[in-house]
């Protein structure tokens, strides 16, 4: 950049201020006009809309004027005053920040393009025409038209909301500070301190957080491995030599996939209800999903069992696909050596399966950490347990981090700021887990192995 300004031609230097100048001066009219148009649009946006939100973000507060009513002397009436809305200030501030970042990228491209033109002219070359540029986009730069449309969607519906929610973790946005009636403001790391300080005692945030985290991991572990091994075992049973009606057996299980998950879960919840059909048939009065005793052991078990019902058909499908691919020669060699079926399983089938499906297991594990539906629809996170989960934290006994987060944002007394802190924690855990394993997996190391 600096060398472009020092060594560039006058046109390049001017294009630092007037975008597209370097292109128009060299006859690349369409490209230059495009840059100029972008710059004008951006300037107008900043002047009429974005500018004041950026100013708000950097002035260190999210609005000062409360909305309310004020007595108007001349008209002798109460007038409504439109105050600041911290929520919208922050949201539009984020939108504007993202636009500024994009603008900087485009601006750098414009300067670079012009500097590149300088270089080419100096070497006596000719400049690419508009048609050349289009052709490049369809060939060596084909990735640009492929990636840009999906990335716009990603920017609007994932990245911007995400930055917004991360910023919320540094504010005091909760029930007592809900716009438009109230304002909220930056509080620095106060929410993180609340979450991780031990001052609340055993039912305070820090301890409750650890309890929820522990259960999240226990759940993810059991949910992942019970599904995996049961799916594998059933697949092996179906594939066993001499078993007839293989298609029928598989269909029995696979039909379960067709019922939408939320229907199955609601149905199971009703079946397991204290007044549900299961209790009526057994003539018992067991609180399958709401028994609080022993750290709510029974509801936790039921959740894992129901999850087996939902998940096994998927792993069954996958394992049967892979089992067919185990080279038959391995088995033959083992049988020649007189290996028993269990030893064949532990020395051939299982290692082969694990070797191939490790990335799948990791994805499943992370997916289960964030498995909202199963918990939310079965127990809603409950039963409520005020001994181990203090009322102020709004956590309940079978809550995962995600369901706790969801309750904190949808409850009667929402704490968006605390929810954001939890979201960040979930994010860090899952991102670390998956980045490590993903980059170690052979799928990445040997991308081109099969080409």
């Amino acid at each position: 950049m600096i060398s472009a300004f020092k060594n560039g031609s006058y046109a390049t230097r001017l294009s630092f201020f007037v975008m597209g100048f370097g292109q128009i001066a060299r006859g690349q009219i369409a490209k230059g006009l495009f840059y100029l148009l972008l710059q004008t649009g951006f300037a107008l946006y900043m002047i009429f809309f974005g500018g004041r939100y950026i100013a708000h973000l950097f002035s260190g507060d999210l609005g000062r004027k409360l909305s309310g009513e004020q007595w108007n002397e001349t008209l002798q009436i109460f007038e409504k005053i439109k105050g600041d809305n911290s929520f919208l200030i922050l949201l539009y501030g984020v939108v504007t920040l993202v636009l500024v970042a994009l603008y900087v990228v485009v601006w750098a491209m414009n300067v670079k393009g012009s500097f590149e033109n300088d270089r080419r002219l100096k070497q006596g070359g000719i400049l690419p025409t508009f048609r050349d540029d289009v052709r490049a986009l369809l060939n060596e730069r084909f990735y640009l038209p492929l990636l840009i449309p999906p990335f716009i969607g990603l920017l609007v519906f994932t990245v911007m909301p995400l930055i917004f929610m991360v910023l919320i973790a540094f504010t005091n946005y909760d029930y007592a500070h809900t716009p438009p009636g109230k304002l909220f403001d930056w509080v620095g790391f106060a929410n993180f301190k609340t979450m991780f300080s031990l001052s609340g005692g055993t039912s305070g945030f820090a301890i409750v957080f650890l309890r929820v985290l522990l259960w999240t991991f226990v759940w993810a572990f059991f949910a992942t491995f019970t599904n995996y091994f049961l799916g594998l075992i059933i697949a092996m049973l179906i594939h066993k030599k001499g078993i007839k009606l293989k298609v029928l057996w598989r269909t029995l299980f696979v039909v379960a996939i067709a019922v939408p998950q939320f229907v199955t879960l609601l149905l199971m919840q009703k079946i397991l209800d204290s007044d549900g059909i299961l209790n009526k048939l057994l003539g018992t009065n067991i609180l399958w999903l709401t028994d609080q005793r022993y750290f709510s052991l029974l509801p936790r078990l039921m959740i894992i069992l129901v999850n087996i019902w939902i998940g096994v058909p998927y792993t069954l499908l996958m394992c049967s696909g892979i089992l067919l691919n185990v080279p038959e020669s391995y088995y033959e060699a083992a049988r020649m050596d007189g290996a028993s079926p269990p030893s064949i399983f532990f020395h051939i089938t299982l290692p082969y399966m694990l070797h191939i499906t490790t990335p799948y297991l990791i994805t499943q594990f992370v997916g289960n950490i964030n498995n909202f539906n199963v918990i939310w629809l079965l127990t809603g996170g409950g039963p409520v347990d005020n001994v181990y989960y203090g009322g102020g934290t709004q956590a309940q006994s079978t809550d995962l981090l995600v369901t706790w987060l969801y309750r904190l944002t949808t409850d009667q007394n929402p704490k968006y700021n605390v929810a954001s802190v939890i979201g960040i924690v979930i994010f860090v855990i899952s991102a670390v887990l998956s980045l490590i394993t993903y980059n170690r997996s052979s799928a990445v190391k040997s991308e081109e192995a099969f080409q």
Partner: protein, 287 residues
Amino acid sequence: MMQKSMAKIGGRISDAVTYAVLGVLGTLWVLPIFYLVYTAFRVTPSTGIINTLFPSDLRLGIGNFVRLFRDTLFAKWLLNTMIVAVFSCALTTLFILMVSYALSRLRFRLRKPIMNVLLVLGMFPGFMSMIAVYFILKAMGLTNSLVALVMVYSGSAALSYYICKGFFDTVPRAMEEAAILDGASQPVVFWKIIMPMAKPIIVYTVLTSFISPWCDFIFVNTIISDREKYTVALGLFKMINAEKNSFNDNFTVFCAGAFVVGSIIVTLFMSMQKYYVEGVTAGAVKG
């Protein structure tokens, strides 16, 4: 001789055990579905909870389906879901194919960083930012519209490039190199050479992205408040979770609705099961 027949008997016993285990497990898996179908067709007793599986005044019929289509907005919800599913499926599939093709077959600077960033972005629990998404849609004037749902469902499509990219990674390079030598441009290679070969993974992507709008009720619940604009998932969810007694009154109708949705998905699955299995396997085998 003796040994051989012993082995035969042993084999028979182990077969019998296998059949027994499969039979028990299969029953366990089918029972809830049976209960669902049974309740959907149960006209009396009409309350949600019954004390025995076969009450004395049991009567079966299609009464619940009549109530479903006459007394609720189910037909409208069905249409809404179909519209959203078709459009978001088309957009999502296109986006996923574009991203995974670019990341798998093309080589450019920032390719690896982009892959890592996408992976990390996908780790963020989606509904954590739901409120922000709601206000962004509101600023665009799109709340309470099906367009918003399509945008939300397909907006994050790029994040699920992983399985599809794994598939593209296995397609041999020789053919496209030959085509490029013959002067074909990248778009031609993309449409004429890679796409036809990628049929299983396309079907898999289409299927999964078509089905997800049928199952999501959380996003719909935030974005849409107009009952006319509900999708089936939210409609059915509200049917038995909205008011205190709604469960007792509506459980049989709910099951009828679930039966309709289930049948649609079963039909889709059965017709495309082969590709689905190939897709699942292709994604996992890439280890």
